[in-house]
Structure formats: structure tokens, C-alpha cells
């Protein structure tokens, strides 16, 4: 009984410690990588490129 309680306490303490030491994965923004808003329509992409003056990267796969 005492051993079981001891193991459970150890697991709780270990879990609490890990939750403070293991950071969640960084988001794209935190890594300094801007997230990309991928459009799924080429007409929309051309309209947005005309409006903003930006070039288009069209990926086909």
C-alpha cells in the first residue's frame, strides 16, 4: 500500500516537473517563419496579385 502510494506520488511529481520543463512546440510565427495563407483558386490568386502588386507562387502537386 505504502509502495503504491509512493509510486503514484512520484509519478505526479514527475508529471508536474515535466509540464514545467517541456515547452510546447513553437508556432511558425515564434520561429520567425511567417505562416502562409495558401489560396486554392488560381483566379483568386491572380486577383489578389493584381490588387497587391505581388508576384504569384503557384504550386501544383
Amino acid at each position: 500500500m505504502r509502495t503504491t502510494l509512493g509510486v503514484m506520488l512520484l509519478l505526479v511529481l514527475l508529471g508536474a516537473a515535466l509540464s514545467h520543463t517541456v515547452a510546447p512546440p513553437a508556432t511558425a510565427e515564434e520561429r520567425g517563419t511567417p505562416s502562409i495563407d495558401w489560396l486554392l483558386d488560381l483566379d483568386e490568386a491572380r486577383a489578389k496579385a493584381r490588387e497587391t502588386g505581388r508576384p504569384i507562387l503557384a504550386v501544383f502537386r
Partner: protein, 344 residues
């Protein structure tokens, strides 16, 4: 990827409704990218590959490189735009070959565009082998390029047109024809647009700190692809003549079990085509004596294929209807030879 941030990004997984006159690339590729202006001007193409792997020329470094280098071109172009001539839009699902099909798919793969082009010409009885000589591998003129910096020549075949033009390993291509070169696909596009007869393609390149201007002299027939270089293309399956059978290459264990030397090219006949529009080719193979389960050892004396795809490309690109080829095979441990008359 930071380098993509200045771009309007679009990702297309279905070619239905995509205007192939505007978004024009090597449709056999499993990954392709166009860097372009809204008016339809294409600055660069990205996504070329060779027969070794679909990823042979795909890397984050090379894509980031072309994305960065294209931005100043876009700024310069915007000051003096020269939009391409307007053409009526055409998408794969509107192509006559697809319109004739009873059941049209909802999703079209990129390679379906080449399939539809080939089918249409075959339907009209106008298909010629050269119609399938698309986006030649730079190896056809004697050179290949690096993966991560694709304007850099990775190797040159001695005595090839590229070698005679002065290209060497390590030179940086600047222009080919009138196009600025940043990628393998840029090179392939210039070769794709060349007619295929005797030709002279101007090339400029940098070696050390010096720039050189030269020309790649091409003899008639240069565009006819090596079956090995062509072997990866999905569109090869539409080409004729077809052997009418196929299957997987024997693995090392199967080679040992069959009493064949390690590294030998041999494949097992897993299917004989007895269905669909090519059923006559399978019936022809059966008539010649080829059976499911046979192990094919050589065809017309050749067993130097790098892959089963290489064999299929070789057969389609080099064989002619009416020719007789000897097929050496293994059945129940015994070698035998059959004669296959090639049918179109």
C-alpha cells in the same frame, strides 16, 4: 518558408478548370511550381526531376533560392510589363479527349494533361513520337545541374554539345536562349520549346569571375529522348507500341531463388493486358507464348534496364509495329525463348 512570404501563394491539387495555356509546365511532374506575374508572365519554373527519383531536384534550399532571386525580376518587370498574348482558356476537362469519355473524373492529375494531348492526337491519327518529346532532360544535350543551386552545372558528358559549348562542372548558367536560368525546369523549358531539328541555342555562363557567351550546337534528332531519361514519365503509358504485359522487378531474394546472379535485371509477368483499349497487346503477348508468372530475362537481347519503367519506356520509344523481338524467359525453372511480333 520566409522566402515565400512576399508572394501570393496558391496550391493546386486538381487540374480541373486550370487554364493550361496560362499555367503551362511539365505536366508529368508530381510537384511543380510557377513563379509568375498576375498577367500570366512566367518568370521561372521549378520542380524538374530526373529518372533517379521524384525528389532528385526538389529541396527547400533550391526553392528558397529561386523565390529570392525572382523578386528583383518581378520589380523590374512591373516597371515595363509585356503581358503574353491572350489565348482562349483551355483546361484538361474541356479537352476533346476528355469530353469523349463517358465518365469524367472529378479530380484530374497533372499528368492527365499530357495523356489527353496524346489521346487526342492518336484519335485523329496524327500522333507522332516527337509529340511526346517533352521537357527534355538537360542530359540529352550533355549536362546536368546541382540540386540546391540549379543554375550550377553538376557534370558534363565529354564530347557532348554542352561540352563543345564550353560548359564544365561548376559553371553557373546565366541564360539559355533568351531565358534567364535559375532552375533545371528553366533549362528544360528552353529545350522543350526548341523544334528538335538541327539547332543552335545561345548560352551565357560564368566561370570564376568571367562571363562567357557561347552556343549549344544541336544535331538533327537531338530531342529524341533516351528511354532511361524518359522512364519516370507517367505519360509514357499512353505511348504505343506496348508490350502488353508487365510486373515488378525481381528482388535480391527472388533472384537467388531463380538461380540468377545478384544485380541481374529480370521481372515477373504479373499482368497481361487483356482489358480496355490495349487488350489486343495482351492477346498478342499470350499468342506469342508469354504467361503470367513467367520471369522475363531479356527482350531483343537486352537486359541492361535500370528499372521496369526503363524497359517500358524503351519498348514504347524504340520498337515499331511489325518488328519481331525474341523474349527470353524463365518458366518453372526452365529457360525458353518466344518470339513476339510488336503490335501498335
Amino acid at each position: 518558408m520566409k522566402a515565400a512570404a512576399p508572394y501570393v501563394c496558391a496550391r493546386i491539387t486538381n487540374m480541373k478548370g486550370v487554364d493550361i495555356h496560362t499555367f503551362d509546365f511539365d505536366f508529368d511532374l508530381t510537384f511543380a511550381a510557377l513563379l509568375m506575374h498576375a498577367d500570366g508572365t512566367i518568370y521561372h519554373r521549378y520542380g524538374g526531376r530526373d529518372y533517379t527519383s521524384p525528389q532528385s531536384h526538389l529541396s527547400v534550399a533550391s526553392l528558397a533560392d529561386v523565390l529570392r532571386k525572382t523578386l528583383p525580376e518581378h520589380v523590374a518587370y512591373a516597371k515595363k510589363p509585356t503581358p503574353p498574348q491572350a489565348r482562349a482558356a483551355l483546361s484538361v476537362d474541356r479537352m476533346p479527349a476528355m469530353q469523349r469519355k463517358r465518365n469524367q473524373p472529378d479530380c484530374y492529375h497533372c499528368h492527365n494533361v499530357h495523356d489527353a494531348m496524346t489521346e487526342e492526337l492518336q484519335h485523329r491519327g496524327r500522333f507522332q513520337k516527337r509529340d511526346a518529346w517533352r521537357y527534355p532532360d538537360p542530359r540529352e544535350v550533355g549536362f546536368h545541374v546541382e540540386k540546391d543551386d540549379q543554375a550550377v552545372v553538376a557534370g558534363v558528358e565529354p564530347d557532348s554539345p554542352a561540352a563543345k559549348a564550353g560548359l564544365k562542372k561548376g559553371v553557373r548558367l546565366l541564360t539559355l536562349g533568351t531565358a534567364r536560368i535559375l532552375t533545371m525546369s528553366d533549362v528544360q523549358r528552353v529545350l522543350h520549346e526548341a523544334a528538335g531539328g538541327a539547332d543552335r541555342i545561345p548560352v551565357t555562363f560564368r566561370l570564376g569571375s568571367r562571363e562567357h557567351a557561347s552556343a549549344i550546337q544541336l544535331a538533327a534528332g537531338w530531342k529524341e529522348p533516351s528511354p532511361l531519361h524518359y522512364s519516370w514519365r507517367a505519360s509514357k503509358w499512353k505511348l504505343s507500341p506496348k508490350p502488353g504485359f508487365g510486373g515488378p522487378r525481381l528482388n535480391p531474394g527472388e533472384l537467388v531463388a531463380a538461380g540468377l546472379k545478384a544485380g541481374t535485371f529480370a521481372f515477373k509477368v504479373q499482368y497481361v493486358v487483356t482489358w480496355g483499349p490495349s487488350a489486343h497487346t495482351g492477346r498478342n503477348a499470350l499468342k506469342a507464348g508469354i504467361r503470367k508468372g513467367d520471369v522475363i530475362l531479356s527482350i531483343a537481347g537486352r537486359n541492361d534496364f535500370e528499372s521496369v519503367e526503363h524497359f517500358h519506356a524503351w519498348f514504347r520509344l524504340t520498337q515499331k509495329a511489325g518488328a519481331k523481338v525474341v523474349v527470353e524467359l524463365l518458366r518453372s525453372g526452365k529457360r525458353r525463348s518466344v518470339e513476339l511480333t510488336v503490335v501498335d
